[in-house]
């Protein structure tokens, strides 16, 4: 263990075993929050256990995720900026989840004798177009936000980021409005094959919008005290553009086919 000083290239030349407490905490939180709480409620119908497991899991996940983000903002990666290369790889796997649902939709629809199946109300026309406009606009605003951050315009960055979050929330509000309308007239996930696909596709997409908006909030909070991390913003932006792009497929397949 002699000539350590010969290399400083990565800046992360370890002499000791590196640790981080947060990933393990998140994993334990996920274990309680998802498999345990879900099974307690849906399989064993126990309110007490559900509350208990969710009560253990939720704070662990929140604590772990916020700590992890804090570490990610401050620690220097072995290969700086590498997350920008990692996120598109993650998106490939996301594409295949969406494709599975689309493939299921196509298989059911193309095998069916009549489509839409009995019990399907008329789908709205104006709302999905409005939602599309909102989401496309938000892709533009996050792009501008990135540019402002790169130029060092912190105030401009924050306002464009907040605008993006607001647009994401408008999109989610539209989803909630539409869901409550459809559920109100008795079009529930179990109604028929189309309702199953409809809620799965739009719901899975909306969950991505929610996650994207939450990530933007996680970028925004430290930005108020002047802390920013360009890699983090860029990753959030790439993810958001992906969510935007998927929406075109969802909207064209679900509403206009």
């Amino acid at each position: 263990m002699a000539n350590h000083s010969a290399s400083h290239a990565g800046g992360a030349h370890a002499h000791h075993w590196e640790i981080s407490t947060y990933p393990a905490i998140v994993a334990v939180g996920v274990l309680f929050l998802v498999p345990m709480a879900f099974s307690a409620w849906f399989v064993y119908h126990s309110l007490l256990l559900t509350v208990l497991f969710a009560g253990i899991g939720t704070p662990l996940v929140l604590w772990g995720v916020s700590g992890w983000i804090g570490e990610g903002m401050s620690h220097k990666a072995l290969l700086p900026g590498v997350a920008v290369a990692g996120l598109p790889v993650f998106i490939i796997s996301e594409v295949f989840i969406f494709l599975s649902i689309f493939a299921s939709y196509w298989m059911m629809r193309l095998m069916a004798d009549v489509w839409p199946p009995e019990g399907t109300p008329a789908m709205p026309f104006g709302l999905p177009i409005f939602m599309t406009v909102v989401l496309v606009t938000s892709s533009v605003t996050i792009h501008i936000a990135e540019e402002k951050q790169e130029k060092g315009d912190l105030a401009g960055f924050r306002s464009m980021l907040m605008l993006t979050i607001a647009l994401g929330l408008v999109f989610l509000a539209c989803t909630i409005y539409e869901y409550s309308h459809l559920l109100g007239i008795g079009f529930v996930p179990g109604t028929n094959a189309f309702s199953t696909v409809f809620y799965s596709l739009t719901g899975f997409h909306a969950s991505h919008v929610l996650v994207g908006a939450a990530v933007f909030v996680a970028v925004l909070i430290p930005a108020f005290s002047g802390k920013t991390n360009l890699t983090f913003t860029k990753c959030a932006g790439i993810y958001w553009h992906f969510v935007d792009l998927v929406w075109f497929f969802v909207v064209s397949q679900v509403y206009f086919w």
Binding site: A14, V28, L31, P35, F96, I97, S104, M111, A112
Partner: protein
Amino acid sequence: MGALLKEWVFTTDHKRVGILYLIGSIAAFLVAGLMAMLMRLEQSTVGLNIATSPDDYNVWLYFHGAAMILGFLIPGLTGFFANFLIPLQIGARDVAFPRLNSFSVWLFWAGIVVALLTFVIPDKPDVMWTGYPPYSVKTLGNTAFYVFTVHLIGFSSILASINFIVTIIYMRAPGMGWNQMNMFVWCTFGAFIIQLVFVPVLAAAVTMLLFDKYLGTNFFNPAQGGDVLLYQNLFWFYSHPAVYVIFLPAVGILFDVIAAMGKNRVFNYKAAVYGGVFGIVLITGEVWVHHLYVAGMPDWLRIGQMVTTLLISVPVGLLVISLWGSLYRAAITFNTAMMYAAACLFLLLVGGLTGIPLAMTVLTVNLSETAFVHAHFHFVMALFAAFAMFAGVYFWFPKMTGRLADGPLATITFWMNLIGVNITFWPLFIIGFRGMPRRYYDYAMFPEFQPYHQVATVGALITGTAMALMVINWIWAAAKGKKAENGNPWRAKSLEWTHADCPAGPGNFPGPDPKLDADWTPYNYAK
């Protein structure tokens, strides 16, 4: 002690993350192996033996399959081996995303916990490792636990795929070109590409199952316009490629062990990489329908799938030729690792050749759902892949622990393993060919098969004993085994041997960052 525990539990070091994977996968292996013993004992005579009801048998079958594949083979190969070796072999000081790596291993452990809870919860899951509807939707068993086991371990392996794909592309040592990588790195790279693309499909399929069962959706419910075969298509779209997620890293281990213990180059390196590994990656997504031959489909589709299934034996064949070719003119030292590697070549031959009749539609219509299939895939997956892992554990044991696991007990358990598995699975080929159905707890309609089952059970008991002794030997050797005299007991040429200590310490390389010459290769034994 507390500090040491903290250093391990919260580690982000790829070697320690790897060893956490190893411990988890060995735990899964031992419990799932115990299930195999119970099933073999149950089948030793006609009628109910040790099970109190057929449901017990279904739960054993569920746990054995799910834990062996999702808990042992995949995490052992793409979790432990990939983690421990890839950064060392490419000359990196860690992976691209160390914290994500720690998250992956604990998600995997969470999956193991959910799987093990099977034994304590009421309404145990009883859906095999395949979870086919409509049974999995209708059963009173807890299908949700099956789904979440798949989710947790699946998500863990997607994250690992991202991590290692980025690591291999961006973090190789200066001077390491694509054609200078270890075969293990190449093979595992292929496996990670497959995982990245196909695991999400499995995750989607089981999620639909969860929704159908607990939220009342209609994905697989024909009464409401759903399609019950949809599940089988999605499931096998992942699960055929999963065979290669297991097969490729196992082959990669064999290449590295054989080249190092034979002091030889890898025969046909470029053909093996660009034809073998990438051929498999390209074709693996187009063969899944062969699992549905008997589910009803048009003939043109059956024949098309027969062609693609036979076609994939071409890249597999390229890899096998390279493995055998690497033995040509080699100066072989038969340590325990090399004995396991040699056994693998035999097991792969049996497993591969018995796969060909199963690819032929005209034969598989008769062989489907028989013990012949059971024996075939156990030769390929269970025996070949597990023996390759054992070869790897013995080979890299000094790199993990600073000690050698070779010795009399290692040799004895090797022969018991090899003999035991052959005694177990050859009778199953024979009775499978004659019509013994697989997955049944009983065979009252075929009492004439009882002697064959008994032979298989004896073989399983020999194997089970040997496996347990082997794990005990590892634990003993890690603490008390013979010390490896230097960083490179096998005098191998790849970076983990030439540049890292035994055991490898924090930051991997005590010296400066490795830099490689243009003519460096990990198999340059001629010079």
